[in-house]
């Protein structure tokens, strides 16, 4: 148990941290005054110092702050997000330089190419029209982070859009057999499947959706704990490779064929239970950026609860006896309790402690390739949507990829780039970084030729070919469905690339998240202890996981390490709680037009417009 006794729940933000005036003694001259004076931190003390504004650190800062803990949150960079940043093209360029000069730990081998286009004075688009995530992520509709966003009200700062299309690359072309269905039921009722296969799929679906406490399910999972999901599906459910691949890599977003059954089932389950929670789609993406945007939201929440923010500031010294921290702006502050330090923010004097902590841990490489192209890639996206996923299973590429490649595609409709363009985020889990680069390039080329095929004067091509198509199904429904015969037929066009950007990231979080889900002082950086830095808790580098799974658990682990328990993690009574009354309950009369204002404290952006949401209360379990 930690000895940290928190102050009583504070009554109001301002009572604890009233606005303080920082007017300088002498008033500077007006001429040449461009920036506000950089102030030193004028705080005598704080309870917890958080270093790094990544997603986990930001959630923790907000969680602590709302429980009355006095938090100082700094970052050694000039923008929010740390390893989770959403960067402009200019920021990407300087980030690459920093990485390659060794100044940002855990990132390596950064490369960036930018066309001259965005530098032309007449160019319509500028560097800041782009928001490039260092850790692109998608959010399952039923997931703990989404619940936390709602509970903490942070969702109010964000805009979410749906993502329905999960394409899988096999036999040299893309397909979406069941992953772009509009309901769980439909996923497994593809007309082209045989009755027998359908029956097996249904049986499997039932197994996956079975209550996790069900005796039989538990036993089956335990019995198959060491069995790969491939063997499990082929032996127990008689499924064929193409169905298995889609279940494992597309729906389950597993990364290797050796994934064990319990993990894979957990992954497939999260996809299925996410259907119909907010609509006929499993996944949401946040507009204007992923984790970078969400961290900003939590930082803002933390600030509302009283956290002090200062970017571009680093810790330069810490005296554990006096508990005195010194900063790069020359200020010193007493830290009453703990220091939370992100791995990118480690000051020199803590480096050996960190090395000691991580010495025996397994290091995981994540390689990314980000390409901004001049195409909206609508062909890959569902109607009305602006994002899609493309997955390349192991062994599907000419490079003989051993692990899957996952690609998230977002076009201008998501606010991350101008209209008519899109960002492709490709991730490889290959540990050999040279091989990873080959796999990424290979996958990129497949996507490139596919989108060119798809978008080049399709109508003309198809009009001629559709007539000879006997199956009677339209060739361009949704996905990249052009048959092989057409591939060579379509004239070569080149894809205009605006920016290409790649790097490798390291983390001690394992790919199956096991050392985050079940953290111990053996396996997790945040729980490991060393003699000389009791007050210091290191956080993890972002995991390789494409979803936000594991984030909340990491936050709670750190929160608990500080306060002794996570029982009151975001247990806050917001004064605006009344907005969660049923729609219409809290309506104000609209007739008082003589008033200037209708006193209306409803904070919802869209409070009463969900009547036309067909299934607001989530998915009904299907009958089997």
């Amino acid at each position: 148990m930690s000895s940290f006794h928190r102050a009583e729940r504070r009554k109001s933000v301002a009572e604890r941290s009233p606005s303080v005036s920082y007017a300088p003694d002498t008033i500077p001259q007006l001429a040449g005054l461009e920036k506000p004076q950089e102030h030193n931190l004028h705080i005598g003390e704080c309870d917890v110092l958080v270093m790094g504004t990544g997603l986990v650190e930001s959630v923790v800062a907000a969680a602590l702050s709302w429980q009355g803990v006095d938090v100082l949150h700094i970052d050694n960079k000039t923008c929010y997000g740390d390893s989770n940043s959403t960067l402009t093209i200019e920021q990407v360029k300087s980030w690459c330089q920093e990485v390659n000069s060794g100044r940002i730990q855990h990132f390596e081998d950064a490369q960036v190419y930018v066309t001259g286009d965005i530098y032309h004075p007449q160019s319509k688009f500028k560097s800041k029209d782009y928001g490039i995530d260092l850790t692109p992520k998608i959010m399952f509709a039923q997931s703990d982070l989404l619940s936390l966003l709602v509970k903490s009200r942070v969702y109010k700062y964000l805009e979410f859009q749906s993502l329905s299309n999960f394409h899988i690359f096999e036999n040299d072309s893309f397909s979406t057999k069941f992953a772009n269905a509009s309901s769980k039921e439909e996923i497994f009722t593809d007309q082209s499947l045989s009755l027998l296969t359908k029956r097996y799929l249904m049986k499997f679906l039932k197994f996956v959706l079975e209550d996790n406490n069900d005796e039989d399910k538990r036993k089956t999972l335990a019995d198959n704990a060491k069995v790969t999901i491939y063997d499990f599906l082929s032996q127990k459910f008689n499924l064929e490779t193409s169905q298995i691949n889609e279940l494992i890599y597309s729906i389950g977003l597993c990364i290797k064929p050796t994934t064990k059954t319990p993990e894979a089932i957990a992954r497939i389950r999260r996809f299925l239970v996410s259907f119909n929670v907010y609509g006929n789609f499993p996944v949401l993406v946040s507009k204007y950026g992923g984790p970078g945007e969400i961290s900003q939201g939590f930082c803002r929440s933390a600030a509302v609860a009283g956290t002090t923010y200062k970017l571009n500031t680093a810790l330069t010294d810490y005296d554990p006896q006096l508990k005195l921290a010194k900063f790069s702006d020359k200020s010193s502050i007493k830290i009453n309790e703990k220091l939370i330090v992100a791995p990118t923010q480690i000051p020199k004097f803590l480096q050996s402690s960190y090395n000691e902590i991580t010495e025996s841990l397994k290091k995981v490489n994540i390689s990314r390739l980000v390409v901004i192209v001049k195409k909206d890639c609508k062909e890959w996206m569902a109607d009305q949507e602006c994002s899609a996923m493309v997955v390349f299973p192991p062994e599907s590429l000419n490079s003989q990829n051993k692990t899957s490649i996952q690609a998230l595609i977002q076009n201008g409709g998501t606010g991350v780039c101008p209209p008519g363009q899109s960002i492709w985020y490709l991730t490889s889990f290959e540990q050999d970084s040279i091989k990873a680069k080959q796999d990424l390039q290979c996958a990129f080329e497949k996507m490139e030729s596919s989108i060119l095929r798809e978008s080049s004067d399709l109508d003309d091509v198809l009009d001629e070919n559709l007539s000879v198509n006997k199956s009677g199904t339209s060739l361009v429904v949704n996905s990249v469905k052009l048959g092989k015969s057409l591939q060579n037929f379509v004239p070569k066009e080149t894809l205009e690339i605006i920016c290409k950007f790649g790097f490798t990231q390291k983390t001690y979080v394992l790919n199956d998240l096991s050392n985050v889900i079940n953290p111990t002082d053996e396996n997790n950086v945040s729980l490991r202890k060393t003699k000389d830095c009791e007050d210091i808790i290191f956080t993890n580098m972002p995991s390789s996981e494409i979803s936000y799974d594991g984030i909340v658990k990491e936050c709670k682990t750190i929160y608990q390490a500080i306060t002794g328990s996570d029982d009151d993690f975001f247990d806050v009574d917001f004064e605006d709680d009344d907005e969660f009354n049923p729609a219409g309950f809290h309506q104000q009369p609209t007739t008082s037009s003589s008033n200037l204002k209708t006193s209306d404290n409803d904070m919802a952006i869209a409070s009463s417009d969900d009547e036309d949401n067909a299934h607001p209360f989530g998915a009904d379990e299907m009958e089997l």
Binding site: S143, D549, D600
Partner: protein, 207 residues
């Protein structure tokens, strides 16, 4: 998926040096209240307030800085899609007026081009009576800056409520009637409403 839009929502952001009275102005406008050192305990730190001007109703979504202005650490999220801004200074604090200039520049760089900005000299109550020696920024200086930068200009008191509503009415009447509602453009992904909380199933499996 399409969600009908409620009365036109306008995102309004506040900027200005710490302690010039930004939060107090919001509290005055939204709750017609003034309290020394009191901010409401709201999760989102933006308040909504409807404002009727003639036959048009505007719903302001007012974003306070939440103190992130103190060390110039406002996130891009804060400026994004802001359609109106109040740049506030304290007429008894010349330094805060100098800062106002910086914030106007910051808005030009960070916010959308057609953002409507009002320059607001607050704490008018302190100079109201014969206390004129407290005034450190003249009305003319404020007006001049406003003219140079094409801003609305007001002197206000959050304490006495002098001129506070006028600021918001002034901004509201400059908001164009039919500004395009981006959400309904078909090529844009529809926004998902998370405020209707789905029933969480107890057997939810995700971590």
């Amino acid at each position: 998926m399409s969600f009908p839009n409620p009365p036109k929502a306008i995102k309004l952001v506040l900027l200005g040096e710490a302690a010039v009275g930004k939060s107090s102005l919001v509290l005055r406008f939204v709750s017609n209240d003034f309290q020394e050192n009191k901010e409401p305990t709201i999760g989102a730190a933006f308040l909504t307030q409807k404002c009727t001007i003639g036959d048009k109703t505007i719903k302001y979504e007012i974003w306070d800085t939440a103190g992130q202005e103190r060390f110039a650490s406002l996130a891009p999220m804060y400026y994004r899609n802001a359609q109106a801004a109040l740049v506030v200074y304290d007429i008894t604090k010349p330094a805060s007026f100098l800062k106002a200039r910086h914030w106007v520049k910051e808005l030009h760089e960070q916010a959308s081009k057609d953002i409507i900005i009002a320059l607001v000299g607050n704490k008018y109550d302190l100079v109201e009576d014969s206390n004129d020696e407290l005034r450190k920024v003249s009305v003319e200086e404020g007006k001049k800056l406003a003219e140079e930068e094409d801003l609305l200009f007001f002197e206000t008191s959050a304490k006495t409520s002098f001129n506070v509503n006028e600021v918001f009415i002034g901004i509201g009447s400059k908001i164009p009637d039919n500004s395009p509602v981006t959400e309904t453009r078909p090529e844009n992904g529809a926004r998902i409403d998370l405020s209707s909380q789905p029933a969480q199933k107890s057997n939810s499996s995700c971590c």
